[in-house]
C-alpha cells in the first residue's frame, strides 16, 4: 500500500495544489489523506487511485478548510513559496501561472475538482464520475463551465494587465 501511495504521490500533490492554491496547504492535505488511507484502509472493491483522490478531495472540503481560515486568492501565496531551484521559468510564465492560481480559487469546489482531475490527472469522465460520485452528465456540464469560466477570468486578468 505504501509503495502504491508513493507512486501516486506526485499526482496527489498536483491535485491538492490545484485545489488549495498553496503548496504548504497542498502538502498538509496530502499528508492527512495518506494518514487516513493508511490508518483506516479502503474498500476492497475500489481502485486505490480513485479512492485516494476521493479521500483527498474530502479532506480538503470537509476537514482541512474547516480548520483553516481560507487564504484570499489575491494573496497569491505560491509567489512567496516559489522554489528557487528552477530558474528557467520566465517572469511572464510566472505571472500567467499566478493568474491561473487566482482564477482556480474562484471556481466552485466541484468545478475545480473536476477540472483538476481531467486536466491534471487525465481522468476520463467515467473515472471522474466514479471518483466523485456524480453523474456523467454533471461531470460534462461542470467541466465545461469550469473551462469557460477560467478562460473568461484569464482573459479579464490579462486584459487588465495589458490595458
Amino acid at each position: 500500500m505504501q509503495q502504491q501511495l508513493l507512486k501516486l504521490l506526485p499526482m496527489l500533490r498536483r491535485f491538492a495544489y490545484s485545489l488549495t492554491g498553496s503548496m504548504a496547504d497542498a502538502d498538509d492535505v496530502v499528508q492527512i489523506t495518506i494518514e487516513k488511507i493508511l490508518t483506516k484502509g479502503m474498500p476492497a472493491d475500489v481502485e486505490l487511485t480513485k479512492w485516494a483522490f476521493k479521500v483527498c478531495r474530502h479532506v480538503w472540503i470537509d476537514e482541512y478548510r474547516a480548520r483553516k481560515v481560507r487564504q484570499g486568492a489575491a494573496e497569491n501565496p505560491e509567489l512567496q513559496e516559489e522554489p528557487s531551484v528552477d530558474d528557467s521559468v520566465r517572469l511572464d510564465q510566472k505571472k500567467t501561472l499566478s493568474q491561473v492560481n487566482v482564477a482556480m480559487q474562484t471556481l466552485p469546489d466541484d468545478q475545480r475538482s473536476i477540472l483538476a482531475l481531467v486536466a491534471v490527472q487525465g481522468f476520463s469522465y467515467k473515472e471522474v464520475s466514479e471518483s466523485l460520485d456524480i453523474p456523467l452528465g454533471t461531470v460534462m456540464s461542470r467541466l465545461s463551465r469550469a473551462r469557460t469560466s477560467l478562460l473568461t477570468m484569464m482573459k479579464a486578468q490579462q486584459g487588465r494587465l495589458t490595458a
Partner: protein, 238 residues
C-alpha cells in the same frame, strides 16, 4: 448547427459519440472561429496542468515520506506517465489545434503521446546536451547543475542522472532522451546541502539507485562514450 461550449469541451476530451465527434471535426475544418474556441479551451487545460506541476519542484515534506516509510523522497513518475499516456488523444488533439487549428482537425485520432509537463526546461536540457559528467554548470547565481552519470536504458535511450543544487536544497533526477528531447524519469529531493556544501552521493540514495537499476542496460558510459554521445546529440545509433 450551433456547437455549445459543453459539446466543445467534451469534444476536446473525445467524450462525445463518434458521429457527433465527426460532425464537429467537419465543422471545425471550415470554421476558424470554432477552431479558435477549441484552442482556447485546450489552453485552459495546459495552464491548469502547468500550474499544478509547479509543486513538483517543492521538496516532499519529511512527514509524508516518513508516513510512506522511505528514506528519501524519491518520486517515480511511472504512474504519472501512465495516466498521461491515457491522455494521448486529448493531448495530441490539443497540440494539433495549437499548431495548426482549423487545418488538420480531422486527424484527431493520432496517438502520439505529448508530455509537455515532463519535458525538461531548455536550460536544463542544454546542460544535459553539452556537459560531461562531473562538470558543474552555473545556471544562475547560487544554482548549479552537475550531470553525474550517463547510461543507455533498456529501451535503447540515453539517460543521464544529474543534480541541481541551491541554498534551498538538492534535486537529483534522471532524464532520458527520447524523440521529443529530455524527459524526466525520476526525481528526488533533499533539504539543504551538507555542511560543506558538497554533493550527497547517489549511492546514499537507495531508491534513486533502484530506479537506475530498473532502467539501465549494461554498464554506465565512460568519458569517451559520453563525449561521443554528446557529439551525436544523444541519439542512439543502431
Amino acid at each position: 448547427m450551433n456547437i455549445s461550449n459543453e459539446q466543445l469541451s467534451a469534444f476536446l476530451d473525445a467524450e462525445l459519440p463518434e458521429t457527433e465527434m465527426q460532425a464537429i471535426r467537419e465543422r471545425m475544418a471550415q470554421d476558424d472561429e470554432l477552431a479558435m474556441r477549441l484552442a482556447e479551451l485546450a489552453q485552459v487545460d495546459e495552464w491548469v496542468a502547468e500550474h499544478a506541476s509547479q509543486i513538483d519542484q517543492q521538496p516532499v515534506p519529511a512527514a509524508i515520506t516518513k508516513l510512506l516509510n522511505v528514506e528519501n523522497n524519491v518520486v517515480q513518475l511511472s504512474a504519472w506517465r501512465k495516466v498521461q499516456n491515457q491522455l494521448s488523444q486529448h493531448a495530441a488533439l490539443a497540440a494539433g489545434v495549437a499548431l495548426c487549428f482549423g487545418l488538420v482537425i480531422g486527424q484527431s485520432s493520432q496517438t502520439e503521446s505529448v508530455l509537455p509537463e515532463q519535458q525538461l526546461s531548455a536550460s536544463l536540457a542544454e546542460v544535459l546536451n553539452t556537459a560531461n559528467s562531473g562538470d558543474a554548470i552555473t545556471l544562475t547565481a547560487g544554482v548549479k547543475m552537475t550531470p553525474r552519470l550517463s547510461f543507455v536504458s533498456q529501451n535503447g535511450q540515453y539517460c543521464r542522472q544529474y543534480s541541481v543544487q541551491s541554498q534551498a536544497g538538492q534535486n537529483d533526477s534522471i532524464a532520458c532522451h527520447g524523440s521529443t528531447g529530455w524527459q524526466l524519469a525520476a526525481s528526488t529531493y533533499s533539504d539543504g546541502l551538507s555542511q560543506s556544501g558538497e554533493y550527497k552521493t547517489a549511492s546514499q540514495n537507495v531508491l534513486l539507485d533502484s530506479v537506475i537499476d530498473q532502467l539501465i542496460a549494461g554498464p554506465a558510459l565512460n568519458k569517451q562514450q559520453e563525449t561521443q554521445a554528446i557529439s551525436q546529440a544523444w541519439i542512439v545509433k543502431p
